[in-house]
């Protein structure tokens, strides 16, 4: 958890070696409400930071998810096709979206750590 970082758009990335697992935060899933569909990227897709990586559909609306860091998509969470509500029930775990091979690990420095993100969210309410 110490290496989980957050964007201002409420995406998270958890880094292990050169790989970053990404998803949306608990705050984001709560704002969206019941997730009914997640459009995941194709494996092999190259993403710049802030490129659209996925679209999350709740009952009411669609929301774009942006890559918090750049990289190549090396794996997606196929479990979301069967059960998109994993984003609601386990946003930081089973509700992950994709794994990226990071283009530039230095981009992580621009993201917020857990404590900063928590303060950031409190300021939004």
């Amino acid at each position: 958890m110490a290496n989980r970082k957050y964007s201002e758009d409420h995406e998270w990335v958890e880094v292990e070696g050169e790989t970053g697992m990404i998803g949306i935060s608990d705050y984001a899933q709560e704002q969206l409400g019941d997730v009914v569909f997640v459009e995941l990227p194709d494996v092999g897709k190259l993403l710049d930071r802030t490129d659209e990586v996925a679209v999350v559909e709740s009952v009411k609306a669609a929301a774009e998810v942006y890559a918090p860091v750049g990289g190549e998509v090396i794996e997606v969470n196929d479990a979301l096709n069967g059960d998109p509500s994993l984003v609601n029930t386990d946003a930081f775990g089973d509700g992950w979206f994709a794994k990226l091979r990071l283009t530039d690990p230095a981009e992580l420095d621009d993201l917020m750590d857990e404590a900063t993100y928590k303060t950031y969210c409190e300021g939004l309410d």
Partner: protein, 376 residues
């Protein structure tokens, strides 16, 4: 995030109750309204289909039209047979413009006040100021419109609504779909109609603002009743195939295109004395150029309002006007308009979605059969 406009947002008499129930409040038609409670839209939707949901619809406009012959007077603005309404019977009708476009859709109930007939109107929140100004301007002199700012409106909807409400007012069991009566609920005189916007059996309850929170709390204390927000109200009405004003119908749609031909009264077709009668009766005779239809997308991705509809040959034939996820259907559902030539049930279509297309099938509405208690 406080802005100047926040301070102008109006509150219904249930605002504090919504907040105490943990609702997420959003601005809607100038009011702070609950879009969902902690249970979430799908749970609220399912509770309404399986037991009972309580909705605050106090933002809607309520008014009484009085005069020497308010029904005959009101018929100048709508295509419905209002004069033919018996006391305490209600009808869905449409305020039309001179070209036959729909200014708003509304419920009209013929009531009696000390033996004198009057009309009780319930109109959409977003349209109410314009509607009431229009009605007053058009009928002024012949009828008088009293806007009921001091009344709230609650909707109790679902298969258990009757059992729940009859614990407070046994007389509600005697009402059939589209019938109303005055009843004492939790010590307050309320006007109760057997109607709603979910496709389920249920009631709408008009009562004084200062009694609304007490009745809502009494109803919510029942094990079978859950609070339901605007999110599930939308998914419920979409599955029921009911139009949302400003989306599925507006001033550019006619009742015939919208599949609301049944709202043009038989007698009114002969007298042809409602706004836009010329073009509406012409469409009735020749058929409209486009029709409102149900759309069932393949897969799980919802299509949304504004998405372009194409036929199998990739020719643009229409547009989605409401779309989302239908919890009772278990997948995406939508409605929209397509050209009449393509409006055959079972037709395979393609709907644009984020630069690609989703296959869909044209289907009959509603997606979920209505569960009304009709007169036997």
């Amino acid at each position: 995030m406080a802005t100047a406009s926040d301070t102008e947002v109006r509150k219904t008499p249930l605002y504090d109750l919504h907040v105490s129930l943990g609702a997420r409040m959003v601005p809607f038609a100038g009011y702070a309204m609950p879009v969902q409670y902690p249970a979430g839209i799908i749970a609220e939707h399912n509770a309404t289909r399986s037991a009972a949901g309580l909705f605050d619809v106090s933002h809607m406009g309520q008014a009484i039209l009085r005069g020497d012959d308010p029904a005959a007077c009101f018929e100048r603005l709508v295509p419905g047979d209002i004069a033919g309404l018996a006391t305490d019977r209600m009808r869905y009708t449409l305020l039309l413009n001179d070209t036959g476009g729909i200014r708003d859709d509304l419920m009209v109930t013929r009531i009696e006040e000390n033996g004198v007939p009057a009309l009780f109107l319930v109109v959409n929140a977003a349209c109410k100021d314009a509607d009431f100004a229009h009605i007053a301007a058009q009928l002024g002199g012949d009828a008088e419109l009293q806007i009921l700012e001091d009344r709230a409106l609650l909707a109790l909807q679902g298969p258990k609504a009757e059992a729940v409400l009859s614990e407070l007012a046994p007389a509600c069991r005697d009402l059939v779909f589209m019938q109303g009566a005055e009843m004492i609920l939790a010590g307050t005189a309320a006007y109760v109609t057997r109607s709603g916007y979910t496709g389920e059996d249920g009631f709408e309850i008009s009562l004084p603002n200062d009694a609304a929170a007490r009745l809502a709390q009494t109803l919510l204390a029942h094990d079978d009743v859950e609070p339901v927000g605007l999110g599930a109200r939308d998914s419920l009405r979409l599955e029921a195939g009911l139009c949302l004003y400003g989306h599925d119908i507006d001033t550019a749609t006619s009742p015939i295109e919208a599949g609301l031909t049944w709202a043009v009264g038989k007698r009114r077709r002969e007298t042809a004395d409602f706004p836009g009668a010329g073009s509406i009766l012409e469409q009735l005779k020749d058929g409209p150029l486009r029709k409102r239809v149900g759309l069932l997308p393949d897969g799980r991705a919802p299509v949304r309002e504004g998405a372009v509809i194409r036929d199998a040959g990739d020719v643009e034939i229409g547009i989605v006007t409401s779309g989302g996820f239908g919890p009772s259907v278990g997948g995406p559902v939508a409605m929209g308009y397509v050209s009449t030539a393509s409006a055959t049930v079972g037709t395979a279509l393609n709907i644009e979605l984020r630069g690609r297309t989703v296959a869909a099938t044209l289907v009959d509405l509603p997606f979920v059969p209505a569960n009304y208690k009709r007169a036997s």
